[in-house]
């Protein structure tokens, strides 16, 4: 089976949120629903040097995340109606006819990918612009990124091109889910972990519907 995935160059992302808007526009998402979200990771403290001077330590960067179309997604076995399935291209999709809008997949996914759409009463999520994929076009988030921080393709091709790292702080360590991601971490990612840096734009990215 083919497995498509995303590449995210966290070191190149400027946090402009164009990908977020492009996704929202292409998929005509309702207020509150964000299939792709740009998180602002921020943390810092002061380090006392031997000379007595205080040195600031700061970690700030952006992380653009949508559904990672995991090889073993947590949402799939949790779904009580078998509405969530993996297709032949490895995409994790929702069958609207089966979905009852119970929101259980939202709790099961550690990345906050499935989101409830109050207008349709259904769970919705990134479908990797499957219609574009069939027309050999890039997903809207990837093609819109002005920093070229996002890429898309078959996982083996992405791994060959960018390496095999799938994680960056503060993404949860979910090796067993095998997220279809390749990530170039930001230079401050390790410091951010050391400083327990937090997502500082939580309200902005939360689905309040």
């Amino acid at each position: 089976m083919t497995q498509y995935g995303f590449y995210i160059d966290v070191s190149a992302c400027s946090g402009c949120k164009t990908c977020q808007i492009a996704c929202k526009d292409k998929n005509n998402l309702d207020l509150g629903v964000l299939w792709r979200r740009v998180y602002e990771i921020s943390g810092g403290d002061w380090l006392k040097r031997t000379s007595g001077a205080w040195e600031p330590r700061l970690a700030n960067y952006y992380l653009s995340i949508s559904c990672n179309h995991c090889e073993a997604p947590a949402c799939l076995p949790a779904c009580p109606t078998e509405a969530i399935f993996k297709n032949e291209d490895g995409l994790v999709l929702i069958n609207d006819n089966k979905c009852i809008g119970c929101k259980y997949c939202e709790w099961a996914c550690p990345y906050g990918a499935p989101q409830f759409d109050i207008a349709s009463g259904l769970m919705t999520k990134c479908d990797l612009c499957y219609d574009y994929l069939k027309d050999s076009k890039l997903p809207s988030c990837v093609s819109s990124c002005p920093m070229r921080a996002l890429d898309f393709g078959q996982m083996d091709v992405l791994q060959e091109k960018y390496g095999s790292n799938r994680s960056v702080y503060p993404l949860p360590r979910t090796d067993e889910l095998k997220p279809s991601l390749v990530i170039t971490p930001h230079a401050e990612a390790k410091l951010a972990e050391e400083l327990s840096a937090k997502i500082v734009n939580k309200e902005e990215t939360e689905n309040v519907s």
Partner: protein, 289 residues
């Protein structure tokens, strides 16, 4: 979270109360001292009916949580892997056995063995239902829920709410010893809940970033609900101790018990509502996504 999840709060509490009522009733009904005034048949008819009514209220509220309530029957489709499917199946079994029991009890008085079997099956389905309900929330993506405390909370709520309610229902009909046993059980459960609170706080403090965020919520924006819950549990404990003082002999006056036990139940019901609201507010994933 606190407002939008009211339907799940009422659903889980109602089902747990209903199951707790049946389990305690099934335990006490065969206790020789339970029905000293010979009113077993009346209790067999009324208490399971109340448990069914509470269960149905819970089910109706669960529909409010769904985007498409009319398709709710599809929720049983993924029994092999989804705890939500298992919950719905065991809920159906529990209510099914309960309805059968009520039908048998209301139509005949001679099928005592069948009555016992049905009440046992209903209790077993109820116990598995609470287990499924707990497992449903014990997700790796939700570290604050993914612990034994979810089991403790759900089974605890079940007995904590059912014991004062059953006590209230038997103030007229039950014996001195069964009233006393239920009051002691309720007091013991409240004390256990209060003792476990610092243990749970310690668990949250050790639970990484989600645990820290949960602590910030409990002591910050949700502190009124958090401390309100503790205060109500203490009030309930004082009231149940007062009732224990009143239940001293067979000549206990019904009126002396009704008011404090009603207040105990009301305090615990509100406390459990607050507690369940906090439970849903603690749905904080590892990275905060």
């Amino acid at each position: 979270m606190l407002v939008s999840d009211y339907s799940l709060i009422i659903f889980t509490l109602a089902i747990q109360l209903s199951v707790g009522l049946i389990i305690l009733f099934n335990t006490f009904i065969y206790w020789p001292a339970f029905n000293s005034r010979g009113t077993i048949q009346r209790m067999l008819k009324s208490i399971p009916l109340l448990a069914l009514a509470i269960g149905i209220i819970g089910v109706l509220f669960s529909f409010l949580h769904l985007g498409h309530p009319m398709k709710a029957f599809k929720a049983i489709n993924h029994f092999e892997t989804s705890w939500l499917s298992k919950e719905i199946i065991f809920l159906s079994l529990y209510l099914g056995f309960l309805i059968l029991f009520i039908l048998v009890t209301w139509t005949t008085t001679s099928w005592k063995r069948i009555q016992k079997v049905l009440l046992d099956l209903c209790s077993i389905a109820g116990i598995i239902l609470i287990y499924s309900m707990s497992k449903l929330y014990m997700l790796p993506a939700q570290p604050n829920w993914n612990s034994v405390f979810t089991f403790v909370s759900f089974y605890g709520s079940s007995l904590l709410l059912a014991s004062p309610l059953l006590l209230l229902l038997i103030t007229k009909k039950g014996s001195y010893s069964s009233q006393r046993a239920l009051a002691v059980l309720n007091a013991a459960l409240i004390i256990i809940a209060l003792i476990l609170l610092p243990v749970f706080i310690n668990f949250l403090q050790q639970n990484g970033i989600p645990g820290q965020q949960a602590m910030d919520l409990l002591l910050g924006s949700h502190s009124l609900i958090f401390f309100g819950k503790i205060l109500l549990q203490i009030v309930a404990l004082i009231l149940i101790f007062r009732s224990l003082f009143v239940i001293r002999s067979e000549i206990t006056q019904c009126r002396q018990l009704t008011i404090p036990i009603s207040l105990t139940f009301a305090s615990l019901l509100i406390a459990q509502y607050f507690g369940r609201a906090l439970f849903y507010a603690l749905a904080l994933s590892e990275g905060g996504f």
